[in-house]
């Protein structure tokens, strides 16, 4: 099993995800549907609930292991795919991606809701960063929450896609 699948009793169709350990009794942030979409109601963002496989440009399946891409590939994939009926997917900026993984209470812990590979670590953002003298993008370590610059021509990080919920479909 290549994916980290959290089997939660509350993870059912359209079911709001809540966690009693969330001390601030926050409103329900994430909603998960039958498809591979995760809604972030708090920030009005729609996430693909998977990492993208480079060749098929679709969700990584259980029998696929590679999700590493260069930053350039990541940008190209994000701007060209049409998944779940949407074609305005993009890479998240640093604030969007960090908001997904730097949770402040368990109720907002995206790792508990998303179906991500358990060996997933770095994920590309669309925010630029200098890696030495090379152009790069910031990547987020989903394991440590560290933000580091990554040369855009180097592979390694994975791709998560996001779009604005309220964005008009082109």
């Amino acid at each position: 099993m290549d994916k980290l699948i959290f089997v939660l009793s509350v993870l059912v169709s359209g079911q709001a995800i809540a966690n009693a350990s969330c001390v601030n009794d926050a409103p329900i942030r994430f909603d998960k549907g039958d498809d591979q979409i995760l809604l972030d109601n708090k920030h009005r963002l729609m996430w693909m609930d998977c990492v993208i496989e480079p060749t098929t440009k679709t969700c990584l399946s259980d029998n696929q292991s590679g999700f590493s891409m260069t930053g350039k590939q990541a940008l190209e994939v994000a701007t060209s795919v049409t998944i779940e009926g949407y074609s305005d997917w993009r890479l998240p900026n640093v604030k969007e991606l960090v908001s997904l993984f730097a949770h402040e209470c368990e109720a907002e812990n995206a790792k508990l809701v998303m179906q991500l590979p358990d060996r997933l670590n770095y994920v590309w953002t669309s925010t630029t960063a200098s890696s030495g003298s090379s152009a790069g993008l910031l990547v987020l370590s989903t394991a440590s929450t560290q933000l580091v610059p990554w040369v855009i021509s180097l592979s390694g990080p994975a791709v998560l896609l996001v779009r604005n919920i309220d964005q008009t479909v082109e």
Binding site: P27, L75, N93, S126
Partner: protein, 690 residues
């Protein structure tokens, strides 16, 4: 002379004459006449013997003792006298009577004499005949026989001028009888004759009974006896009796000496036979007959009223109503009493709504069984009871399982459960009681949803679950929606060309999908409440929290209109942006020697109207940061429009893990995030959420 008279001379020679024998007969006879002589008291003698002188005629004796002598004188007779001697023989004794009959002409006509009595008789019947018109002391000899002279089967009882004739039932002679009254008047003998015809045999009295096929205990019944072919003037006596009573019961008879007997049986458990008998005694003047019959009757038990009922619904929800219809039938159609007792008045209310109809209303908030008892008793006290049980179910409970807090504009699911199977539910209705009017998707299910309005508010709904038959349960629920929080953009302006280098004048094309090409930063003519770099939207607040001019000297806080957070202005003269402080300093006595001391001071002062100053979280810290070096948010955070921080800032966040805190490293257009040892001092921002 016949041979049987041969012994007579010997008897007469040896016997002894005792006294005179009396013979009744005429003194005169005319030629051609026939007369009759009768020995009076012939029963005293064993035998009567006759001797006579010679004459021109015939003579012969009749009767069981030859006590009657008939003499027929020829019409050509020239005799003057006829002498006759009668012997009454009694053993060795005998009596003698000598008769001298003178033959004369011109017999006088008889007197006007008639015989009165019935002209018809039946076998077995008797009748009296009386001769009328003769002097009172006239001796009458009654001779009754059929037309052939036979008296077999006839019983004649003479009594002076009256004779009783009874025709035996087995009489077999001719149908014509002659009743002859022989009498002597002025020495001449006359015979008055009455013809009596014999009718058919009188039918025998017959007894018939009229009774019912069955009788019911405790209800009086009757049996009628009818006797047909009763003789005239017959007296009848009836006697009824019980031969065998019913099993384990008894029968009382009334009027048991009449032809209509009344009977009353005590109650029995099962139908049983009883045997009765009637004896009819029929008495006439000369007859007595007894007719008797035994017969069986069936006694059925007297049953109590029969009870039945129909209950529209045997299982009720609490508060549910149902109709009870009672049926009472009395097998014997007798009067009866009916009563309905509510054995559990605390569980069910009973209201009579019509004759034999009741409305039951369940009243129990727990599963229970209510009981009613029906009583019906007839006039004998025969009682029938029936218990009507009604199961009462407590009303189902609605529970809501959806979240009570949602974000505005999001899809809000409402999830209810009812602790009964869905098959029990006939209808589901959601009523919106509060909030902007929304359209529920799946409003007839327990899991509808709606799209929340953009304006945060409280929504209230009432779920009504109809269980049918007028029973429903409802429950209120509420959902509060909160403002969604759009993330600030990053201020990233840099582009990369398709050669993986920073975009420059020499670049051929730019990569698509970069941060700089999306978000608030790239929205032209972005509408802001305040002002700020790129997509940021700030207003400055004074110490009291009131709005002041941008970069005003009395500004103390910066309010982010996008995130809703309020930031402490890190101005150089109060809280320098590049100042590093430990989180805690136990030796510090002032208000500015540790981060916590500063926080405590701010909260104590309620700076900018806030009382929840604290270190920002990772996301809060990140939200205010910009990597647009030319128009950095740090200038706004330091209240110094001209500030262009050249040094690296290590901005501490509140996130701590494994003795490390998370810090953002900000330097110009570069941003990193990493964990640092808690021992290491860092710059900091302070935020208030409220």
């Amino acid at each position: 002379m016949c041979m049987k008279h041969l012994w007579l001379p010997l008897v007469l020679a040896l016997g002894f004459q005792a006294e005179a024998l009396e013979v009744h007969g005429p003194k005169y006879i005319q030629p051609g006449e026939a007369v009759m002589f009768n020995v009076v008291d012939s029963e005293k003698y064993q035998q009567i013997e006759w001797q006579q002188s010679f004459f021109n005629g015939e003579i012969y004796a009749t009767g069981d003792k030859q006590q009657t002598l008939q003499l027929a004188l020829s019409p050509a007779s020239a005799d003057s006298y006829i002498f006759i001697r009668a012997f009454g023989v009694d053993g060795w004794n005998y009596d003698i009577a000598d008769l001298e009959i003178e033959v004369k002409q011109n017999k006088p006509l008889p007197a006007d004499v008639t015989i009165q009595g019935p002209e018809k008789l039946s076998k077995g019947q008797s009748a009296d005949y009386t001769i009328m018109g003769l002097p009172a002391d006239t001796r009458i000899d009654w001779v009754i026989a059929d037309e052939f002279g036979s008296d077999r089967g006839l019983k004649v009882i003479p009594n002076g001028d009256r004779v009783t004739l009874k025709v035996n039932k087995r009489y077999s002679g001719s149908d014509a009888l002659l009743v002859n009254a022989v009498y002597v008047q002025n020495g001449w003998q006359y015979v008055q004759t009455k013809n009596v015809s014999l009718g058919t045999t009188i039918p025998q009295p017959e007894l018939s009974l009229e009774f019912d096929a069955s009788y019911t205990a405790l209800i009086s019944g009757g049996i009628q006896a009818t006797v047909s072919n009763l003789p005239v003037n017959a007296q009848i006596n009836y006697t009824w009796r019980v031969v065998t009573p019913p099993i384990a019961s008894s029968i009382t008879l009334q009027n048991e000496t009449t032809n209509n007997v009344a009977l009353l049986a005590q109650n029995i458990d099962v139908a049983s036979k009883a045997t009765l008998a009637v004896k009819v005694e029929i008495t006439t003047n000369d007859q007595q007959a007894i007719l008797e019959k035994e017969f069986d009757i069936t006694i059925k038990p007297n049953l109590p009223p029969q009870l039945s009922h129909q209950l529209s619904t045997a299982t009720l929800w609490n508060t549910e109503k149902t109709k009870l219809i009672v049926n009472v039938s009395e097998p014997e159609q007798e009067m009866f009493d009916f009563r309905l007792d509510n054995l559990t008045p605390e569980l069910v209310q009973v209201q009579k709504i019509a004759e034999w109809e009741y409305e039951l209303t369940a009243n129990s908030d727990t599963n229970n069984t209510a009981s009613l008892k029906l009583f019906a008793a007839d006039i004998h006290g025969n009682l029938n009871e029936q218990v009507v049980d009604v199961s009462i179910k407590k009303l189902p409970v609605i529970t809501f399982e959806h979240a009570a807090k949602r974000y505005a504009k999001s899809k809000v699911p409402l999830t209810a459960s009812v602790n009964v199977p869905m098959s029990f539910i006939s209808n589901i209705t959601w009523h919106q009681r509060l909030g902007s009017n929304v359209t529920l998707d799946g409003s007839t299910t327990l899991e509808p949803s709606f799209i929340a309005n953009a304006l945060p508010q409280e929504y209230r709904f009432e779920l009504e679950v109809d269980l049918g038959n007028g029973v429903s349960v409802s429950h209120d629920t509420q959902v509060n929606t909160f403002q969604d929080k759009v993330l600030n953009d990053t201020g990233d302006k840099r582009l990369i060309d398709d050669g993986d280098k920073w975009y420059s004048q020499s670049s051929n094309s730019v990569l698509q999908g970069l941060d700089a090409q999306h978000g608030r930063d790239s929205v032209p003519n972005l509408i802001k409440l305040g002002s700020g770099p790129d997509g940021f939207d700030f207003i400055f607040l004074n110490e009291q929290g009131h709005f002041v001019e941008n970069f005003a000297a009395d500004a103390h806080c910066l309010h982010d209109n996008v995130s809703g957070l309020t930031w402490l202005l890190k101005s150089a003269d109060s809280y320098p942006l590049d100042q590093k402080l430990p989180l805690v300093d136990a030796n510090c006595m002032g208000s500015n020697c540790s981060i916590n001391a500063v926080i405590q001071d701010l909260n104590t002062r309620g700076l900018c109207g806030k009382g929840d100053w604290k270190l920002p979280s990772i996301n809060q810290t990140l939200s205010i940061l910009s990597i647009n070096q030319q128009n950095s948010t740090l200038s706004w955070l330091s209240n110094d429009e001209l500030t262009n921080t050249q040094s690296v800032l290590n901005l501490r966040t509140s996130a701590i893990k494994d003795q490390k805190y998370y810090a953002f490293l900000v330097y110009g257009e570069e941003l990193n995030g990493t964990w640092k040892s808690v021992e290491e001092n860092a710059q900091f921002l302070l935020v208030a959420e409220q």
